[in-house]
Structures are given as structure tokens and as C-alpha cells.
Amino acid sequence: MPSIAENLLGLIGRRVIPLRKDIHDASKIINDIFYWSCISPFKGKPIRFKASIYEMVKAGNNAVPIIAVISLFVGIILALQSAYQLKKFGALIYVANLVGVSITRELGPILTAIIVSGRSGSAFAAEIGSMKAAEEIDALTSMGINPVRFIVVPKLIALMVMLPVLTIFSDVIGIFGGFLLAVTALDIHPYNYFQQTMNSLLIKDIMTGLIKAWAFGIVITAVGAYQGFKVEGGAEEVGRRTTSAVVSSIFLVIVFDLFFTVLFYYFT
């Protein structure tokens, strides 16, 4: 009969030992992604440029409509909610500041990242997972082609480029949403709103948002690839891994957001 202490240690062990393998697998994927995207291009193994463009179209261009609609709505909501408070002080014009700063610094990048996690993070995990289940990954390896270089690196390049681009787009549309509401429902003069936005926005605000977006792109690709390569069985596991890819990439995006926000708060 094991003692309570032994049971407790056993319990911790059962939780921690599988985690160790997960950490090992995750660091291996991150290491591979880093090697095949940053080091091997200088060793004569170029990045697949055409495939990267194709991924950019899939992950970036095709996400434009949904990001446009959501950013527009969020811009309108934000303007309405801030007007609700600001009109008590007769400071309605500051709606422009609030919308501009919160969208560029925070909401633009995070909304974009969450939409891209849902669209592309899940697609990456499902694609890699079903390739694994159909032995396509083994086939690539047996042809002497590294699967990370062949599949993951073009996706990484695509998201590193497209996430900041989509974020700029989301910023513009979001601010435009706020503007629309302000000039119609709040009776603010369009020129005044425009001037107020221009005065409140700093290059710093936009840049920090873009740096975040760039980092989110890496997080989403890495999580999607990690979950995809973890698929061992068949269709059911592909589904499970796809779900966890979306959940964990949204979670990690928010963790990284917190990290960067704290960093920028103190160091810019």
C-alpha cells in the first residue's frame, strides 16, 4: 500500500512526465522552424518563394472580407461605448482619440490575430495533420525533403508578412467605423474628427501594434505546425488537433499580447 506522499509524487509524475515530451516536441518544432527559415537559406536551401506567395493569398488576401466587416463593426461599437461615457463630460470629440489609440495599439492586432488563428491556424493543423495521416510527411522525408522546410516555412513567411498587413488594414477600417458613427450619430464634424485622430495617433502606437502582429504570426504558425505534426492516428485525431490548434493559438496570442503590452508600457 503506497503512502500518501508516494501517491502525491505519483500524481505529479503522471502529469509532468507527458508534459516533458510535449515540451521536447514543441521545442524541436520551434528549433526546426528557426533553422529552416533563418539559417538554411544561407546554406543553399532556399525558401520556397512561390509556395509562400500562394500561402499569402490563402491566409492574407482571402481573410480581407471577414477582417473588414469585423473591424468596421468593432470600430462602431467602440465609438458608441466611449460616447456613452464621454458625453457626460461634454467631451465627445475625444471619441476620436479613444477609437484611434485603442484600435491601433490593441484591437487591430488582436482581432486580426484571432481571426487568422481561426482561419489559418486551424487550416495549418488540419493540412499537416491529414498529410501525416496519409503518409505524405513520411513520403517527403523519404525523398530527402524536410517537411518543415517544405510545408511550414512558406506558411511562416506568409503570416509574418500578412499579419502586419492585415493589421494595418484592420486599423484603417476600424478607425473608419468610428468615424462613420461619430459623423452620423454623434454629430461631430468630419474634419474635426479627422484632425483629432491625426493628433492623437503616434507612429509609436501603430508600430507597437505591428510588432505584436508580426509576433502573433509566428505564434499561430508554430502552434498550427506543432499540433499538425503531433497527429498520429486518423481523421478523429486531425479534428481534435485542429481544435486544440485554434484554442491554444488564441490563448498564446493573448499571453504574448500581455507580454508585449507590458514591455511597451515600460520601454517606449
Binding site: M131, A134, E135, A139, L140, T141, S142, M143, G144
Partner: protein, 261 residues
Amino acid sequence: MEKAIEVQGLVTHYGHREILKNLSFTIPRGMATVILGGSGCGKSTLLKHLIGLLKPTRGEIRFNGQDITGMKEEELNEVRKKMGVLFQGAALLNSMTLADNVALPMREHTKLKESTIQIMVRMKLELVDLSGFENLYPSQLSGGMKKRAGLARAMALDPEFLFFDEPSAGLDPVTAAGLDELILKLKDVFKMTIVVVTHELPSVFMIADYVIMLDAGEVIFKGTLDELKASDNTRIRMFLDRKPEREAYSPEDYFRIIAGD
């Protein structure tokens, strides 16, 4: 008989379970070797070790005298360029056309001009009777056509060694026989060393020059086809005569099983 591949003391585990138990054999050059065995005997695992996808716990696998088990990825890739593999489900990349699939190894590993690659692709597809299907996607093909396309891709770099994982699995007898004939043709024309993993007896009788039989992770037979047919080992006879395995339980054992204790 010249050695092409030499396996020595190969032991491998999945978790704590021992799958391959100290295998040693050689695969002769320029012949068709069949690795035969029932389901779950470890033959697919063995194939994955031979093509370098899995690393064994112990033992050596030598291609032309070079041990691949301890190799770094880059060195292993050099050996892999001399291998072609046809996977069980053909494993064509679904996002690419047939032509791109066949061209893939050439584009990745050679500096040939695009026009040359196109000609080579047509040659390879002609070899497997798939001319005119260049621009189709794998999902538009039948099972037999996929396998032949997979074979064209495996042959893309004119490999020295060609591996087949259950080539006739999931095919009707006529299509399977066609594929077997193709394998024979490749062996005779290109003098490749061919390794086929299968449990289909008609295929074995048609293509095998040399047979290695596995049972429960051990080699129970190695020799020519005639020696196999003449063997009086019970396991081999059961396999060749298609006899089902009878599990003899004592009444006590049976009671224990159904009582779930």
C-alpha cells in the same frame, strides 16, 4: 549473391514493447526481395527503419557498406536520393498535380532545366502508363492509378533501391497483377534492387527472387522462393496454406478470460 543492404542485430521498441527482436539478414543486389509476414509482425516497422524514417534501439542497417542508423540528416538525405519508396496509399501530395508530384524530387535535388524536367516527367509517367494524366490531381485518380503515379515519383531520380509497402493492398486482382508485372519489368530493365513488403501470396509467387519471412518480430525464414515452398516450418505452412490460427485455451484460461480477471 552480392549484398546491397545488410541488416545486423536490429532491435526496436514502441514504448516498452519490443517490436523487432534482433533481426539480421541481407538483401541481394539487383533482385526482388519480398519481406513477408502476417499483420502485426513488424514488417512495416522494418520498412520504416530501412528507409531511415525510424531509428532503431540497437543494430545496424548498411547500404553498400554505409551504416545509416547513426547518420546525420544531411548524410541520410544523400542515401535517400538513391532510394525510391512507394507507400501503401501512394502518399502523393494532394495539393499538387501528378506532373508536379513526379517533378518534385528532381526540382528539389537536381539543377535540371524546367524543360528537361518536363520531358523526364513525361518519360516517367509513360513508364507507368499514365501519359496524358499530367495535369490531374491525385484525388481525381483511381487507387491503381495513384499507386502507379506514386511509382513514377519513386523512380524520378532513377534510384538504386526501390521499396514497396504493400503494393497490392486495396487493389483488385487484375490491377494488382498489373502492378506486379510493372515491378518485374523495372527489375529486369533497370536492374534495381527491389524490396517489397507484403502479405499477398499471389504477389510473392510472381515477383520474389528472395524471401525474408517475419513472425512476431523475428526472422523465421530467409531464402529463395523454392526453398520457401519446400519448407516444413509450421508457421510458414500455415501462412502458405492459408490456415487460420487456432488459439488453444484450457477451460480454466477461457473461464479467466470471460470472467475478466
